[in-house]
């Protein structure tokens, strides 16, 4: 948890909030900057309890590559699932898979769970209380072990290298 009682507990978050506010308002009039600035100070102060200490990004280039790969996979995922829905007469093989987590930080686990939900045929359904594994529902899967290996190699390994190593 982040230490309370500081004016800017999360400077990066504050900057991000200000930037998003200005982009949403679509202007850089002084009034908007003032309003955005107030929000950028107040929102972190109200929500700091929810935030873990920010993690350092160790390898920014890998993060960029990861993002590009995920966006590509999202597009592929859309076509796959659309195909499955249209051919609904074909029998699907839904499968619940327990995915043992290698990641430890809650932030990176959140990223991984979101990535799994957005990418081909898988939805993350439940994170075990002990944070050791993630329950995944797959829409049409033949070999669950291969899926686990694929997620580990494609998403979890890069995330681990970017944030936790």
């Amino acid at each position: 948890m982040i230490r309370p009682r500081r004016w800017l507990p999360t400077p990066v978050l504050s900057l991000l909030l200000l930037a998003v506010w200005l982009l949403l308002a679509h202007s850089i009039a002084p009034g908007q900057i003032l309003l955005g600035g107030i929000l950028a100070v107040v929102i972190p102060l109200v929500t700091y309890r929810f935030w873990d200490a920010p993690l350092r990004i160790h390898r920014p280039w890998l993060l960029l590559r990861f993002l590009i790969r995920v966006i590509g996979d999202i597009i592929v995922a859309n076509f796959e699932v659309a195909y499955l829905i249209i051919n609904f007469r074909r029998s699907m093989r839904p499968h619940f898979i327990e995915y043992p987590l290698m990641l430890e930080e809650r932030f990176t686990i959140t990223l991984l769970a979101s990535t799994i939900t957005l990418t081909p045929g898988t939805v993350s359904a439940n994170l075990r209380m002990d944070g050791q594994s993630l329950l995944i529902h797959a829409l049409d899967v033949d070999d669950p072990d291969a899926l686990v290996a694929q997620i580990r190699q494609r998403y979890e390994q890069p995330l681990k290298e970017i944030y936790e190593c």
Binding site: I74, A82, P94, H95, V123, L135
Partner: protein, 127 residues
């Protein structure tokens, strides 16, 4: 009709088709968990296509690239997985019926996850 207009129109149609397929999934898929796959994936691309179309159109109209569409996409990508995760979790808690073909053993929630056994808050168990 310029090239950009045509492109925007095509994107609108493609986006509409994807959004429709996502909704169709609600009807044809057999159980709650499978139905989750439609709105989390297919609909995001559908809406993404429409937003790109909107960006292109207003870019041609005003000559400025508007960022708001990008923000909508970003918010959508952040929120869709979270709501899907919560829905799936609720489904597991309520022990909703699964399609008979569903395989995979570790389906049931453990005692502490159903609420039979009190659990310490994660923040307190972490040092």
């Amino acid at each position: 009709m310029t090239f950009i207009d045509t492109l925007a129109a095509i994107l609108l149609i493609v986006g509409g088709a994807f959004a429709f397929t996502g909704s169709l999934g609600m009807v044809v898929l057999r159980d709650f968990y499978m139905r989750l796959h439609g709105p989390t994936k297919v609909t995001t691309l559908g809406i993404g296509c429409m937003l790109i179309a909107s960006m292109l159109y207003f870019w041609r109209l005003d000559g400025v690239i508007s960022i708001q569409e990008m923000l909508i996409t970003l918010f959508l990508f952040i929120t869709a997985p979270v709501s899907a995760h919560l829905l799936a979790k609720t489904g597991l808690h309520m022990r909703l019926k699964r399609a008979d073909k569903t395989r995979g053993d570790p389906l049931e929630l453990r005692q502490e996850e159903v609420g039979d056994k009190p659990v310490p808050h994660p923040d307190h168990s972490r040092s």
